[in-house]
Amino acid sequence: MAIYRVGDGMDLVLESQSPTVLAIGAGTGRTGLIWNLDYWQDMTRTLSLVLTSSVIALVIGIPLGILMAKSNVAQTIIQPILDFMQTMPAFVYLIPAVAFFGIGTVPGVISSLIFAMPPVVRMTNLGIRQVPSDLIEAADSYGSTSWQKLVKVQLPLARKTIMSGVNQTLMLALSMVVTASMIGAMGLGTDVYFAVGRNEAGSGFTAGLAVVIIAIILDRITQLVNKPEH
């Protein structure tokens, strides 16, 4: 199972590192807190779940968004599917994921992936379609191929919009952590889930806090990429 291996591999990498590696540029205080609360291992599992599902969502989502932007037919077909994916309660995705992949991290990744993918598809489509028409005309009038137009004009100009889609996708994947823990995707979500079951407000909050810290770090990293060039 390729996805499983990717997730597992990332797990290993993160678990073998000291907290300071992740702390570079992200604020030692915050990750230090996670370490202190004894959530480091759970955090690495959560992070690997989030990153794995996000990366796969982006790898599928961005090309899909480009396809949508380039073809009106594709847009008409994909749009309702995205609506469906986003409005269907996330719990529902757990059922087929478990049916196909059993209990564990893999179905967690699959359901997070489905839930988190729509924003990046939509934003890629929107970003490319929002490129001013006279710039497209300029690119065409100088004899650009479709690929040249995409790479030299459309994607650079859509970058900000696409990056906010990437950001949204990461955040949504993170928000699936607790839901995914119900089907055995271990991590911070599991701590929250158990805390709810045992009525332990304290440990629920601390685990939740660890999720928030990851969210803030991921959010700041994606925003860093999005800062203006000149």
Binding site: D134, E137, A138, D140, S141, Y142
Partner: protein, 396 residues
Amino acid sequence: MEKVKVEHLTKIFGGHNKQVRSMIEAGKSKAEILKATGSTVGVSDISFDVQSGEIFVIMGLSGSGKSTLIRMINRLIEPTAGKIAIDGEDLTQLDKKQLREVRRHKMSMVFQQFALFPQRTILDNAAYGLEIQGVGKEERYAKANKALDRVGLNGYADQYPDQLSGGMQQRVGLARALANDADILLMDEAFSALDPLNRKDMQDELLELQADLHKTIIFISHDLNEALRIGNRIMIMRDGRLVQIGTPEEILTAPANDYVERFIEDVDRTKVITVGSVMIRPYTVNVDTDGPRLALRRMRDNEVSTLFVINNRRELVGFIEARDTVKLIEDDHDRSVRSIKSIVNPDVKTTTVDTPINSIIDEISSISAPLGVLDDQQRLIGVVIRGAVLAAIAGD
């Protein structure tokens, strides 16, 4: 030599092509066709040719189809019917790849809103056309720099478009077109977004460049003054139809119909140009301090036969003429006359700075003396002479 030949070019937006075309042939108007079929006629059955090295201006108001027409010449908009031949090669028959080659090597376009790529430097913008042709970095930068030099933008290569003013951005647009070294320039209202002074500068520059480069330029404009200034020939369009093709002289002297005539009337120079732009510095003599000999000397020095007479407060009193002054001096045997008061003619015609010159034409053609220009405190600030008014009307 014919560079571009357009035959029966038609563009219909919204389908029903057959029906619409038969209605066009039957001479139905754009509005009638829209009502009957729901389709808009962008351009209807236009034929013209452009000679090599010519500036061909396509003129019309918004909605006349001129932008659609220029976009059909490089097939940014697909024609519904008709032919476009460049150097004898029919563009409408080309496949995507051949069309790309034509766009890369035969024509370049300049856009109304500049259409520069905001994330690229000025140099990379100018080099865009070469970059997509796969020209190596060194060669394309050398050519792009040369093109930027031509439009007076050396030193701006590393800036970004949003750091430049509108006029400079359009120079980059022009440089991008020149860097490709294509024979044909398509300029879509290229100077319309600029302020009047910048627009005039750019027109001058385009004419200078053209004197050097001998490109074939198809220029879209909604401004007849611009068309008259830069066009070797002008084509006037209305509602997608061709109204008249001719040299500026032909358009002005033999307008094809009422529509063109109204156009020409609208740009009547005498209504637009004011006294302020044709007045010159006045030659004056002060009635309170200056005598006849000084006045005569000043006339000789400046080679004029009349001088305006002002007082100490620079208010206009009248004018004196050379022969009266000479007579005054000759009659003055004992050299006792110190003043010119006796020969001042108070009957002087005046006007103000913002009067359009059409309202002073009658006056200036009936009197021989120049017209004084006064400010609101009745002080003399300039004069209008007949020659300057005529030159302004002629458009120099």
